[in-house]
Symmetry: C5
């Protein structure tokens, strides 16, 4: 995948021209245009060229190169630097995280994508298909990509909710097992990571709505409120799932104990049932000279039948009291 | 059920006329009137017509169509968009959630109902029966429906409190069982969902009381404070029930352990009682040439009576110490 | 008990006259006087008469009639509506809750008492005995009754602290039992209810101290701060007791497990001691043709003494290692 | 111990004269002097005389007499009333609490000590030895005593940290026991009480630093920040110890369970080892007419040696798998 | 290691001269220069000389001498006093803490290092290699050292994350053991200490960014925001690890119980298998005169084979149901 995914100038909602990185400063002279650049894991050299064209701050560029940042929004002079974590569900419910960095200035937006994530080509196509919205400038582009990123979280949190349901089934229907306990732990870990990735969105959108920056027009504010709302919802689902998971862990634990109790009772009941014939057999194994029963012709079958009866009664009693 | 449940104009507290959706703009010219529309799961086409009549914001209309929103209040220009979750208890304590969306503007209120919920026809009838209050305009209509929605929560939280009481009875009076644990989990789940639905009311009412909008007159503020108060109370009951439920889970767990201990003790006691005759029988089963007792005429009955006595004493001792 | 407990006019700290409910408006004309009415679970009709005399708000009067409100303070125009929960300990540590509602206006205070609670006749007598304080007006009356209500909480929280101590004794000195667990749960429930009743006092006093209302003079502010302080203290004791109770629940649980372990060990030790003679007896019960010991004259007593010795040694060893 | 510990006037950092309680008003006329009174559990009569001399507020004096107040700071007019809890470790780690109340006004400071605590004579001596600091007035005296009180907390929290370490040792090195569980509970109780006593310091110092009172000069502010800092540190240690204690309780619980498992396994292993000879003995105790082994001359020793071998192998296997 | 590690004057980003402690006041006259002093556990005497040269506050100097302070930032007049905790991982994952104190004034920065930590010589060299940044004055020096200190935390928290992973492996793959429980406790302790050391950074950076001090230029603010960001990230990792650790403790506990249950079941199953031949042997050990089977020639082998078959079937059944 090439580093410079895209680099074009837009005017009144339409793409005017695909441009070369080094020609940007010529475009920037025209205030009615803005430049939208998409990069993918750019080399230090490319980033330096971009930095020079737009006059970006050293610290922001360093962050954009190193990746592994916290999601955040920062204002350097009058240009914005935003870091967001993207999320991506690959087969068998494995979650992969990526990062996207934005530099937004008076007439440009630079989008730097890191790690595993879906490309933003679709977003670009969709934006170009809505010139009346795209004409609102780079603020709208920022919204469009952020919205796309947030929407990627929904299948992920739904996957986590499904995982919780699967665990519930195992806990309440199956037997307590090491696997369930490990799955609970794993789900907790995933939830914590998703939470850490999504919760900063709330603060970021909040600040985007309050910032008084000319290239984010007041009429795009409801759009950021929309993202804010989605982030809140994802956050809420994650918190909810986490709380339920904790309860599931506790319930799992109670059920393990109940199961232990069942084992003890079953064992005790069978031990009692077995104890009777063993004891009886021991009795008639005694070597007393005078033990009249031993001389009876039907002594042996009577004893066998007698103990079987006692065992039967015990079995019935344990069954009734729920020990068996 | 038809999509347009009702559509009428009101003036000075009285219904003036039932109108057609496409005639609304004619009514809107008269500032002394306001239009109250009730929709039920409207199609995209109907919503678009409503949007055109009142000039609603795209994002709000999109939300109103898709449903499954978080409860929220949003101001687009000078028209309000409110989303509330309704609740509804169907037979055997099953809780069903619905959604109601409100668009409130200078002289209209549009109420969009989604999912399972009771219709607002009763509210309309009651409002029409109180012209002096209805003459306060669409702000009062908003209050009347919100109050109705909040009042629907009371039977639900009472149902949840009853469920907790049933669980308490099972935990403290019955035996620890898998069913009780599962019911605790289920109740926790319901509480979380009700909490998520009702807690945004607090913030929404708070903001309605602070908003400075001409069509919500200062004299309707105490009414919204009343809803705020009800929401607080429901919220408090839910929190309380949740905290008690957590303690019940812990108590349940302690009782499982105590019950396990009881089983162990009972088993140990009976094992001890059985061990005596078994051991004695084994003893007199030994084949030593010289064992004087075996030759005694009353050896056998003496041994039987002796072991029975020991067993009796053991039984008494275990009984006294609470192991049996 | 009659509904209108008391209805009198006060001037410069002294009661001037007992008046009839319908004569109140005549008294109200004189700004130097204020009216103090005490009601007990008034009928709708009485409340309506009071409402008409003082011009109270519909919503407040409705609340005062229905009772079962959250403790709260509300300002309707320039008249205050306050709801407080009263508490009352009846024999054997059972806590009963009641409600008291206050309407305070320019020259009146109406006190409506609901449910189980002690009458405020003593407060009235005490106020009348301190004319210099009573001359501060209805603000002081409000303080006097609120102080009385808060003071009723102290014996209750002390009772709860005693209950915790009783539980501690049972947990650490007695055996783990179902009763203790149920008492812990019950105490938690009581604590939650008291907490819910007392914690709103903090906010209510806070707002009374900040309100700028002419009939609550700045010099009565330290008095409300005093109540605020008491409420904080009760709140703190409740929180403390709750936290300790949670630890007691955990400790109780640990002790149940230790007790279980003790049972297992004791059982294991006795089983081992019993296993020896049983095994020996089995051995000498074998029917081998050649078993020299069986022919010895002192074989039997030697075996008996031998096994007794082994059992003695085992007993001593288990004793030493703490299993017995 | 006498009630009036000390009563002297100070001017420009030096004690001018020891005075009688009733002569104070004469001293107060001279604005360059301030009076420092130290009382120990004063009678109502003494407090009344002090109140009259300085014009203290009724509510504050009542608090100072009754003691058992929450730590707090209150402003009555322009005189401060401060309540602090003192702490004191007596032998064998028992913590005793006391109370100290301060009345600070334009040219006086009254220090009222209650319950078990160290006298402030040392503080007075130290202050008198630093006239340049003492000349900053009663604000500095307040600081000096508060600093002394906070410093008394350090040995106490260190004692609590030592107690935690002792518990850790018992939990991880010794056997789980009832005593450890009770000690954990006791330590938790102590921590809660110390926390309750020390945490209000933070707020009190904060407010002292913000108060704009002429007799607390801006240059004494860093001194109160110093106390604030110490209080924060003590608070932090207490919170830390508490959190670790909770984990220790959980760890203790895990270890009890592991120990229980060990008991079960040891018992199971020995039971298995004993079961073999018992079963074999039973076998050769059967009375079948035809059992060739019984007739062998070496049958008996062979069986004995055979079972011993099997037991040996079992012992070795259980040992290897960690059950023994 | 000598106490005065370094003492030099800087001007326009370059070191001008190494100076003696007593000559500092001569340098300070020139406002275009600033002095950077590095001390290591200085004696009281050295600190006093530094204090005199720069006019530092008594309380700050006392703190700097005693060490063992909470991380904090304080403003004395217009000079800053900052305390930070440094961290340092020595071999086998043992964490050592140190302290660094900063005095920053109009044209000086004094860095006092305490306890185990890496020297700041590298930082000095790096700063001197970037004259354009160093020319921003002592604010930049403060940033450079703080950045260095925060960066030392990353290997430590990574070490803690590795420790958690090792514990996870032991919990989910190995057997529950006392060692794992103790390691969990130890890790929790380390996490608490790191958290306590790093979390104040957030507040300190926040205040540095807001302080309006001339020697911390607005253009160094983004640098402090960078440290703030790192501190937030470390904090987040610590919180995350802590939360996972708690879940691991719970999971560990569940697994101990499951393992206990496995032991009980295995024991019960083997006891049942052994009970059969024991009982059978007892039966044919009875001494009834008439027991036909005993007379059969193949009675003995039939019984042996029969019991072996039953045992085999039992073994198969227990195996299938997972008890063995």
């Amino acid at each position: 995948m090439k580093e410079i995914v895209n680099c074009a100038a837009y005017s009144i909602g339409h793409k005017t021209v695909d441009i070369d990185l080094d020609k940007i400063h010529e475009i920037l002279k025209d205030p009615s245009q803005f430049v939208w650049i998409g990069l993918y894991e750019p080399s230090e050299e490319i980033l330096e060229r971009v930095q020079n064209e737009f006059g970006l701050h050293d610290l922001a560029v360093e962050d954009a190169h190193r990746a592994h940042q916290r999601p955040k929004i920062e204002l350097y002079g009058d240009s914005l630097f935003i870091v967001l974590r993207t999320v991506h569900m690959v087969r068998d419910c494995h979650i992969q995280f990526g990062e996207t960095h934005f530099f937004v200035g008076t007439n440009f937006i630079v989008v730097v994508r890191h790690g595993s994530s879906v490309a933003y080509t679709d977003v670009r196509t969709r934006c170009e298909a809505m010139p009346e919205l795209l004409s609102k400038g780079q603020g709208f582009v920022l919204y469009a990509i952020m919205d796309f990123i947030v929407d990627m979280y929904f299948p992920v949190v739904e996957g986590l909710e499904d995982a919780l349901e699967a665990i519930e089934d195992k806990v309440f229907k199956g037997n307590p097992s090491r696997e369930t306990t490990e799955q609970i732990y794993q789900l907790k870990k995933d939830l914590l990571e998703v939470k850490r990735a999504v919760s900063p969105f709330i603060d970021i959108c909040n600040r985007l709505m309050r910032f008084d920056i000319k290239y984010i027009s007041p009429e795009t504010q409801p759009y950021f409120r929309d993202i804010y709302d989605h982030a809140l919802r994802i956050n809420e689902i994650v918190d909810n799932t986490r709380e339920l998971l904790n309860t599931a862990l506790d319930a799992n634990f109670s059920l393990i104990s109940i199961s232990q109790n069942d084992t003890s009772r079953k064992f005790a009941a069978w031990a009692a049932i077995f104890a009777v014939p063993t004891m009886v057999a021991g009795y008639y194994g005694m070597n007393f000279r005078v033990m009249p029963e031993l001389q009876w012709t039907y002594g042996y079958p009577m004893v066998v039948i007698g103990t079987l009866c006692i065992c039967g009664v015990l079995y019935y009693l344990f069954r009734r009291s729920g020990w068996l």
